[in-house]
């Protein structure tokens, strides 16, 4: 870059007489980027200019003093309370954790019953996932649905927020009752994936309700009634759950186009 000569700078400082517009603009663009030239320009400033600058500084100082103080920067920890999801999910997650807690208590009180923690694990994340992408629970859904951020990425981020709470709760429940951790966590992940895949077609809320009903009718209630654990939760089925979880996780990204609009099934 070529610096303007001292004579050109001096002329610029005096008001730019004798310089054409193009020359003035190129000097200004250069000054914008070059601290050294700004310094030498400041040294050449005329008394009228320094006087003007002083007056501007004084009035600016007064204006800043009179205006309201800037809002303080929020720390990331304090930002959580400004997340809509944090407030909306809280009651649902609290209920989920409480139900799991009851399952743990029942398991220890009635060892003859099949493990309730195992039976509840697949449906534990469903209420949270249904709430995370819903027209009913989000008052501003119509606004959210028109933003570029709406879509599969938002659904996945909110689902992750649910799993961050549900998975550790299941882990603690599984460890304290001594059940197989793989059979506690894998069905939970598989059902989360299934809710999203099915939700792409019929809406996440409907998918969550449907899956919860099917699981209760086909596995949960028969197991409790027969007082023996269903074969789908026996140790031999771990491999099947792994395959199901991986397959559903792989299909989920393919459903991205279905999440661009928040359809009425959600």
């Amino acid at each position: 870059m070529t610096h303007p000569t001292t004579t050109v700078l001096a002329r610029y400082a005096e008001g730019g007489h004798g310089l054409d517009d193009a020359a003035l603009w190129s000097i200004e663009v250069h000054l914008d980027a070059c601290a050294n030239c700004r310094e030498s320009l400041a040294a050449k400033a005329t008394p009228a200019t320094t006087d003007l600058l002083d007056r501007v500084a004084v009035s600016l100082g007064q204006a800043i003093e009179a205006s309201p103080s800037p809002t303080r920067q929020r720390t990331p920890a304090a930002a959580v309370h400004r997340r809509w999801l944090a407030w909306t999910l809280l009651p649902w997650l609290a209920v989920t954790v409480a139900v799991l807690g009851c399952g743990v208590l029942l398991d220890s009180a009635e060892p003859s019953l099949p493990s309730l923690v195992l039976l509840l694990a697949p449906v534990a994340p469903l209420p949270g996932v249904a709430v995370a992408w819903s027209r009913r629970t989000d008052p501003a859904w119509e606004l959210i649905a028109t933003t570029p951020a709406a879509g599969l990425a938002m659904v996945l981020r909110r689902t992750l927020a649910v799993l961050v709470v549900v998975l550790p709760a299941l882990l603690v429940a599984g460890v304290s009752t001594g059940t197989s951790l793989a059979l506690t966590l894998l069905p939970c992940l598989a059902f989360t994936g299934a809710t999203l895949v099915l939700g792409a077609l019929v809406g996440v809320r409907r998918a969550a309700i449907g899956l919860a009903v099917v699981w209760s009718a086909a596995v949960l209630l028969p197991s409790v009634a027969a007082q023996s654990l269903s074969p789908v939760l026996q140790p031999g089925s771990t491999a099947d759950w792994v395959v199901a979880t991986v397959a559903l996780a792989a299909i989920t990204p393919l459903a991205a186009t279905h999440f661009r609009r928040l359809t009425s099934g959600n």
Binding site: T71, D138, L143, T147, P148, A149, A150, T257, R261
Partner: protein, 264 residues
């Protein structure tokens, strides 16, 4: 001063900011917009029509909330019906729905900043843009009040602020003047003229006066179809002394509707 991005100086390759052809949009089961042809350029366009004319459904289709049931819809040069990627269009979109839902615990500033973040604005630009939007709608003194403490008119203005925070190229306002007092409505008209200078603003309203005062273009809808599109002066010229209404524009409005109904 800021650097100008290449995208901002790129020539526009689409003749219309909004182009709907044979557009059909469903509201619940029935077709609320049925075979609408519409082309819009920059300016303020007022959408008039009786209740049930399909104004809100049209707004929802243009805001990409609902997928059109048929026909073609092009916004800012991008096709938005079917399974198209909507992100690029949505970044340049501002929308105030008829039922403006909000988070009662949030302050006005937090809510608008949250919307700006969802609109994928650069993080460093958000605080300034939020303050500017709040100032433009006249909520400066209420910027740090919680949303649940605001009155109806203030909420409406907060809704307008979140719609304009990203300087949208296409701004859709559904009944923006509901709950505003006469003085605020005058301020709002000034804001509309200002916004319409370089973007396409679509205002749906029942108030014929607002349209005549602040709009460059009037769109009259009835039963999901376009009945009339022209300047406010055109609308006034349609009215005769015998038509119902208290002002020339209202007479024009009722004359157009009456003529359409007698033909049907």
């Amino acid at each position: 001063m800021r650097a100008v991005r290449a995208a901002e100086t790129a020539p526009t390759l689409h003749p219309w900011l909004v182009h709907a052809k044979e557009l059909r949009v469903r509201a619940d089961r029935h077709l609320a917009v049925d075979g609408l042809d519409l082309t819009l350029t920059a300016g303020v366009h007022g959408v008039l029509g009786p209740n049930g004319a399909g104004k809100t459904t049209l707004m929802r289709a243009l805001s990409t909330v609902v997928k059109p049931a048929g026909g073609s819809l092009t916004l800012l040069g991008a096709q938005v019906d079917g399974r198209a990627d909507l992100r690029e269009v949505r970044r340049k979109l501002g929308y105030l729905p008829q039922e403006f839902g909000f988070y009662p615990r949030f302050t006005v500033r937090e809510f608008i900043a949250y919307m700006a973040w969802l609109k994928e604005m650069p993080k460093t630009a958000i605080p300034d843009a939020v303050q500017r939007a709040i100032d433009r709608v006249g909520l400066t003194t209420k910027a740090d009040a919680r949303m649940k403490t605001l009155s109806g008119g203030m909420l409406r203005r907060a809704g307008i602020a979140q719609a304009i925070v990203n300087d949208p190229e296409l701004l859709l306002l559904d009944e923006p003047t509901v709950g505003l007092d006469p003085e605020q409505r005058l301020d709002f008209r000034d804001l509309l003229r200002d916004l319409g200078a370089d973007s396409c603003v679509l205002v749906s309203t029942h108030l014929v006066e607002d349209v005549v005062a602040a709009c460059t273009d009037v769109i009259l809808m009835n039963e999901g179809r376009l009945l009339f599109q022209g300047t406010p002066d055109d609308l006034i010229a349609r009215g005769g002394q015998g038509d119902a209404g208290d002002s020339p524009a209202e007479r024009g409005y009722s004359a157009l509707l009456r003529r359409h109904r007698s033909n049907a």
